[in-house]
């Protein structure tokens, strides 16, 4: 089997799909590229300020429209901390999870395409008791809510 040819076919297919998506106006070219590349700079930050800067979030507004669900006040095991976030801010585009005192502050960024509910849950690691932030991007503006989670057994060291 000609591997190189297959590779070319696959790459070509991917490109044309991207072009199609871009042409359909779902994504602006810049955003399509951003979604393609893992945001290394943002994931390597280790303070709230640096992370917000790397994400281009500036100073997000505190919002009561961003809420946590299924999220404990006290996590017995920092290696597995359930986090649920719901945003009722109209036109929510993305939801990011930040843990202030983790070695790397940014945990995850979820892009929410139109049609997907701005509500999701996942599980994260926490090294120690810390504030957890839900950063929501809606209509190009940033909103944030926070919650302190106490950790009795850290999930990053050892």
């Amino acid at each position: 089997m000609n591997r190189q040819r297959r590779e070319v076919l696959r790459t070509g297919g991917g490109l044309s799909l991207l072009a199609l998506v871009t042409a359909a106006g779902w994504l602006r070219p810049g955003e399509a590229l951003a979604a393609d590349a893992w945001n290394k700079a943002a994931f390597e930050t280790n303070s709230m300020d640096a992370t917000l800067k790397a994400l281009g979030a500036g100073t997000p507004a505190q919002s009561k429209d961003v809420t946590f669900f299924q999220t404990p006040d006290i996590a017995e095991n920092g290696a597995v901390v359930p986090i649920g976030i719901t945003s009722t801010v109209p036109n929510t585009q993305s939801i990011a999870i930040l843990v202030e005192k983790n070695p790397s502050t940014l945990i995850a960024v979820f892009d929410i395409p139109p049609g997907t509910e701005p509500s999701l849950s996942t599980r994260i690691k926490m090294g120690q008791t810390s504030n957890v932030y839900a950063l929501v991007k809606a209509d190009g503006k940033y909103y944030v809510a926070s919650k302190e989670i106490k950790v009795t057994l850290g999930g990053c060291g050892g």
Binding site: W38, I107, A108, E117, S121, C156
Partner: protein
């Protein structure tokens, strides 16, 4: 090749609820082995979920997502029998794609 994901997609009212459990070490790069050598970071970086070719969730992850990651989300639409396809790529370039049928 990593173990398959476990995906459940259920129709709830007019939305589809998707629950995914992936099988991955999600090594942070912070831990040390018995010899005191740092265990290199190994984690899923990108996750994409599509339904009928349309992206319904796209995520970028750092090593702070828990081992054997779990994600649950909902999107509008979907019909019984439709397929939800999920794929991930980790920082070593490993990939995995799995699909589930909406029930």
């Amino acid at each position: 090749m990593a173990d398959p994901m476990r995906i459940r997609a259920n129709l709830v009212g007019d939305s589809t609820e998707v629950k995914v459990l992936m099988s991955h070490e999600m090594e942070t790069g912070q831990r040390k082995d018995a010899q005191g050598k740092t265990i290199p970071a190994w984690f899923i970086q990108e996750v994409n979920a599509t339904w009928n070719g349309k992206t319904v969730l796209a995520a970028q992850w750092g090593p702070g997502v828990a081992k054997n990651p779990f994600v649950s989300f909902k999107f509008k639409g979907g019909a019984k029998g439709d397929k939800v396809v999920i794929n991930w790529t980790d920082n070593r370039g490993d990939k995995r794609t799995d699909e589930a049928t909406i029930a």
